[in-house]
């Protein structure tokens, strides 16, 4: 695939926007040569990331916005999520032992686990002292 294809969606921090986030991500991911099951998994990873921001990044009743930027660059599909929520670095949270987690009936942390399982890169930075920026990349695998 040549050139780049980029678009952006901004939503407020409300879970009712997750459907729009998934629709946007799926639409963008389908512009490239990924098989449908990979498109679905990427959509899930982005859902999990945005859900984490909505649920952990803001205080009750606090309004905020979340920007999701999706881009095809050659054989890489990159999703960058920017928000003005409190500083949250997912790198500070180790992936849970999912089996132990599930046996104990715990459900927290599973979203981050899925993001790391699905995407080839998950990188975080706190940009300019004001913004969380999470970048996730999926490579088109050679057949």
């Amino acid at each position: 695939m040549r050139g780049s294809l980029k678009d952006r969606l901004t939503v407020s921090n409300d879970t009712r926007h997750l459907l729009a986030v998934r629709d946007f991500t799926g639409r963008m991911a389908r512009q490239g040569p990924l098989p449908p099951e990979e498109v679905h998994k990427i959509t899930l990873a982005v859902d999990e990331a945005v859900t984490n921001i909505i649920e952990h990044g803001f205080n009750q009743g606090e309004k905020g916005s979340i920007e999701i930027e999706a881009e095809w660059e050659g054989e890489k599909f990159r999703v960058t999520i920017r928000d003005s929520a409190r500083v949250f670095n997912p790198d500070s949270i180790p992936s849970p032992d999912v089996q132990e987690h599930v046996k104990a009936g715990r459900k927290k942390g599973l979203g981050l686990f899925l993001m790391r399982q699905i995407m080839d890169e998950v990188k975080y930075r706190y940009k300019d002292g004001t913004q969380n920026e999470l970048t996730m990349v999926k490579y088109v695998k050679a057949k």
Binding site: T15, R16, L18, L19, R22, E37, H40, K41, L44, D47, E48, T51, I54, E55, V98, Q99, V102, K103, G105, R106, K107, L110, G111, F113, L114, Q117, I118
Partner: protein, 119 residues
């Protein structure tokens, strides 16, 4: 709430069949959570959940099942899952839940599984 719907049916032996349709994410999961809570309050711990109509599940939705199966099994019941589509099954597989949950293709097989529970 648009996007997620639940239907229930009483089956023989006190089993309840719960059919779910639509998407189960961080916006809709509380509906299913409440449904399970109501069923448990009513003493129904032997459940079959038909996933055929479920288009999408995220970890928020999976979390509801994780909590519910614990409660059902503590009360000598179980939750049998039926007919997940490939995208839904993938999420259960990724989370290792396919080792904890029993999946069946038909109502009869699911009922048979539950017949062995609490016997």
């Amino acid at each position: 709430m648009a996007g997620f719907r639940i239907q229930k049916e009483k089956l023989p032996g006190g089993v309840v069949l719960v059919g779910v349709k639509g998407f189960l994410d961080a916006h809709t999961f509380e509906q299913l959570e409440k449904e399970f809570a109501d069923l448990f309050d009513a003493g129904s711990f032997r459940l079959i959940v038909d996933l055929a109509g479920l288009d999408y599940i995220s970890s928020a939705g999976a979390g509801v099942f994780i909590e519910a199966i614990g409660t059902s099994q503590e009360n000598e019941g179980n939750i049998i899952l039926m007919r997940p589509g490939p995208n839904v099954k993938e999420v259960f597989d990724l989370l290792g839940l396919s080792q904890i949950f029993t999946f069946k293709d038909t109502r009869e097989e699911a009922l048979q599984s539950l017949a062995r529970v609490g016997a």
